[in-house]
């Protein structure tokens, strides 16, 4: 019998673990991982900040303060001597802002003799009432002499004040809205005359130096024309080029050159395309400046490399067995590609095209150079007319000093981002729905 006594000495005899710095190394590991998480969070944090800053500044742009008052279309003011039958200019040049001012003054109970107050009242209404009331009268001269209830745009500063964007605690001299006007504003609001309404104008109006009357209507149409031109030109040309390079081109110096070229064109700064457009389309070919046609052509050249690269990837993904089967059944190479390969590659091609279009839609720099920085108040009827584009409109508004334009700019950015989201989500859905894994 043996007694196994584990002596304390035996335990001690076991060699101590050599310190290989495992703690330090694990700490380094944790640190490294934390750097990664920090970097990722930094990026996502700024994405959130960016979107939040735009949305929080811009959502109010979709509402507009209106003053709804009974307006008396006084014959005294519009056409004192009853000349409108003989002189058509009379109705165009009448002093409409006075009518609006009087209407608001009446609602506020401001005496007509108090000129200082009347001026202050006038500052509360947008200058755009001139055209608003003029259009009403010209369209229907019968309303002269009657009283109609009309919603007038409030001036930009009143609009900002009512939305709480102007700090009213600041001393009266340092802000654009006087205490009296604030009082009137509240008085009108209590009477139900002043209220925020949905602002359709931001979608439909053209350029205006008055923030309350400015909208992206012209820019939307300009952008629409350009996208149409880009789609019509770059999709067929891009697909044709990719088919040649992917399916027919012999491997030689020339095609290699074309390939390097396309990859480089995709990385050329967009402003260089603007210089190209200015020198070739505007200066050499004599196309009109600021026209959406020129913008469309420039954006087409810019989008082509993107579409070619996407299309080639899509064509490459179609398995050779499809080609072999079609060729084996006696189809010519052209028939194989156009009847079988291309339809199978179509979802990938369209996805690439939509993403290319979305990029083109947000592109600003080349459009600045071809003169799309233009004050265009009327809708362009053809792509040859002067026009502007959504991102350019944003650029122009961003340079305006007035507080109310910051809100408009953010509003326009929201509209632009919504378009981009719709396009990108469309591309993703298209890919999910139709993409085939071989």
């Amino acid at each position: 019998m043996t007694d196994v006594v584990s002596s304390p000495a035996g335990v001690l005899a076991k060699p101590a673990r050599r310190d290989i710095g495992i703690k330090r190394r694990y700490a380094a590991e944790r640190r490294f991982r934390a750097y990664g998480i920090a970097a990722l969070s930094f990026g996502l944090l700024f994405l959130a900040l960016l979107l939040w800053s735009v949305v929080s500044k811009g959502y109010t742009a979709f509402q507009q303060t209106m003053i709804t008052v009974p307006v008396e279309f006084s014959e005294q003011v519009i056409d004192k001597d009853n000349e409108r039958a003989t002189d058509p200019q009379k109705l165009m040049t009448a002093n409409y802002p006075i009518i609006a001012r009087n209407a608001v003054a009446k609602a506020l109970g401001v005496a007509e003799s108090n000129t200082a107050d009347l001026r202050a009242v006038n500052q509360m209404i947008s200058n755009s009432v001139r055209s608003q009331l003029r259009d009403m009268v010209v369209a229907n001269p019968q309303i002269i002499g009657t009283t109609q209830t009309v919603s007038l745009l409030a001036a930009g500063d009143i609009d900002s004040a009512w939305k709480g964007q102007i700090n009213l605690d600041v001393s009266e001299d340092n802000r654009k809205v006087s205490d009296k006007q604030v009082g009137w504003m509240n008085q009108l609001a209590e009477a139900g005359a002043l209220a925020k309404h949905f602002n359709g104008g931001i979608f439909f109006n053209g350029a205006s130096s008055r923030p309350e009357a400015a909208g992206v209507g012209v820019a939307l149409i300009g952008s629409f024309y350009m996208m149409l031109i880009v789609l019509v030109l770059s999709l067929p040309i891009g697909v044709a080029a990719s088919i040649y390079l992917e399916e027919f081109a012999p491997k030689n110096r020339l095609t290699d050159l074309i390939e390097v070229n396309i990859n480089n064109l995709a990385a050329v700064p967009s402003i260089v395309y603007g210089l190209l457009g200015l020198a070739v389309f505007v200066n050499f070919m004599g196309l009109p400046r600021s026209a959406s046609l020129v913008g469309g052509l420039v954006l087409t050249l810019m989008t082509l490399p993107t579409i070619i690269i996407a299309t080639r990837a899509a064509l490459k993904a179609v398995p050779p067995s499809i080609r072999a089967a079609a060729l084996g059944l006696g189809a010519s190479k052209m028939q194989t590609i156009f009847h079988h390969v291309l339809p199978l590659a179509m979802p990938g091609i369209l996805t690439g095209t939509i993403i290319g279009l979305a990029h083109a839609l947000g592109e600003t720099a080349p459009l600045l150079l071809i003169g799309m920085v233009a004050f265009v108040a009327n809708y362009p009827t053809t792509p040859m007319d002067p026009s502007t584009a959504l991102p350019v409109q944003i650029y122009m508004w961003a340079n305006e000093a007035e507080r109310a334009f910051v809100e408009r700019t953010s509003g326009a950015i929201i509209i632009l981002l919504l378009f981009l989201i719709v396009m990108n989500v469309g591309a993703i859905l298209l890919r999910r729905r139709f993409e085939r894994r071989w």
Partner: protein
């Protein structure tokens, strides 16, 4: 006929040819398409192509060439004293003639008779019709305008006739060639193939267009300002383009702009490279598939946001924030609330541009890191290295050439970026090292020299093209070098 009408006529001819060709092929084959070499549609397409393609080419050439011919003929008909004037003067006179010609189209015959006696009234009369003239027309201009109109009319008539005759001749000639053994498909496919070649050559044409257009305008510029002064000048002060002014031409030194571009790009890379690289490493090596599938697209949203939005963000949020916080900081340390960071500064522009570049760095390096073979990692982990040691000692060295290529591509984007710097970097061309002060870039100056009224003769406008070609050359070199590195690297594992 006007050009759209001719195009419409050609389209109708094409459709008619297709239908007729298809029918005739089937009729010749006795109703059995198996008797034909090609399917019957190809015969129709062949006839349609023969009818329209040559006609369309002639139409295009005519439209491009005829204005040159007509203009030079009209100008040679100018009186001798006009011909001795400077080229710009002649151009102005020709502009007047063109305006007159357009105006005379609007007038009725009686009105022309009435004003031809008294050309001075012509201007006011045309003004009421919506045709604005630059000056009072002289009698010889009225005559030239009449010539111009007559020649344009004749040219348009001849063009219509020629195009339609060619179309019909092409249709007729190809129609009679239809036979059961005629290889229509091969012909049609040849035409399609040449269309494909044409489309793919547009890429080359674009590059040539970029280089040529900028080179020609830049040579005009270097004719007035010496390249030495441009490339090595340290003062950027172009002044305004005053018409006819010869003195005080302004100074066009590239160095301050290039310094600003590189400085802002450097700050941007300082933000984008660590953040992008670490995000890429985390997403490719650590993150669970679920996190990755959410974080990667979200990060790529940053790349999809238009740069004008970043510019606005910098202008209204980041810039004022940095300005205010610097005022607070100096207030805490020195007691004086003065901001030492300007709202528009190198830091603002560089920082925001860095955020924009994060996804470029991260997704490019993500691809490259993922492409490093699994075996390398397994070997290192098997030897007892921790994950971070594997990444630092094994994966990154293997991925390094690719990552460097990706960083070069990102840098070329930073140099060519426009809208952020236009809104956030300032316009003062200065050479200094303080990142809190505004500087300006090449792209900002291209935009500011080319917005507003343009005159393609003044160095103030032309300098933009010299700047453009410099920018193009820099980015091209960066990209080619990056492509070279990436390609070379890719071959190692495949």
């Amino acid at each position: 006929m006007s050009t759209p009408l001719i195009l419409l006529a050609l389209a109708i001819i094409a459709i008619a040819c297709y239908v007729a060709g298809t029918r005739r092929a089937l009729a010749i084959a006795g109703g059995l398409s198996s008797n034909l070499h090609s399917r019957q549609g190809y015969y129709g397409s062949f006839v349609a192509i023969c009818a329209t393609v040559p006609a369309a080419i002639v139409l295009a050439v005519w439209l491009i060439a005829s204005p040159f011919y007509i203009n030079s003929t009209v100008m040679s008909g100018f009186p001798e004293e006009v011909k001795t004037q400077s080229e710009a003067q002649q151009g102005l006179s020709f502009g007047m003639v063109g305006g007159l010609a357009r105006g005379m189209d609007v007038l009725t015959l009686e009105e022309i008779d009435a004003v031809s006696a008294n050309p001075a009234e012509l201007r006011s009369l045309l003004g009421t019709k919506g045709v604005a003239l630059a000056g009072d027309p002289e009698p010889w201009m009225v005559v030239s305008a009449g010539d111009l109109n007559a020649m344009q009319k004749i040219s348009s008539r001849i063009m219509t006739a020629v195009v339609l005759i060619i179309a019909l001749a092409g249709a007729g000639l190809s129609y009679v060639r239809i036979a059961p053994r005629f290889r229509a498909r091969n012909r049609v496919e040849k035409v399609i193939l040449s269309a494909l070649v044409l489309a793919s050559s547009i890429a080359i044409v674009t590059t040539i267009g970029i280089v040529m257009s900028m080179l020609t305008e830049a040579t005009h510029f270097f004719g007035r300002v010496s390249p030495w002064e441009f490339f090595f000048g340290t003062v950027w002060d172009p002044r305004f383009a005053a018409a006819g002014a010869t003195a005080s031409e302004g100074q066009f030194g590239l160095i301050p702009l290039l310094a600003g571009t590189l400085y802002i790009g450097f700050v941007a890379m300082l933000v984008a490279v660590p953040v992008g690289l670490f995000s890429a490493i985390y997403m490719s090596e650590y993150a669970s598939p679920r996190v990755r599938s959410i974080a990667k697209p979200l990060l790529e949203v940053l790349a999809g946001i238009p740069t004008i939005v970043y510019g606005f963000f910098a202008l209204t949020s980041v810039g004022p924030f940095l300005r205010d916080i610097s005022a607070q900081l100096s207030g805490l340390t020195t007691g004086e609330y003065a901001n030492f960071i300007q709202a528009q500064s190198v830091l603002t522009a560089g920082f925001v541009m860095g955020i924009m570049l994060i996804p470029y760095v991260s997704s490019l390096s993500d691809d490259i890191i993922t492409a490093v073979p699994r075996a390398l990692r397994d070997g290192s982990l098997g030897l007892g290295a921790t994950k971070s040691e594997t990444i630092k000692k094994v994966v990154m060295p293997a991925a390094l050439p690719g990552v460097v290529g990706a960083l070069l591509m990102t840098a070329s984007r930073a140099i060519g970026e426009t809208m952020i710097v236009v809104l956030a970097a300032g316009v003062a061309a200065r050479m200094q090292l303080n990142p809190f002060e505004p500087m300006t870039t090449v792209t900002v100056k291209i935009v500011s020299q080319l917005t507003g009224d343009l005159e393609f003769t003044s160095p103030q406008t032309l300098v933009a093209f010299a700047l453009g070609i410099t920018l193009f050359a820099i980015t091209l070199c960066l990209n080619i070098y990056a492509l070279f590195i990436v390609r070379k690297y890719r071959e190692q594992y495949e």
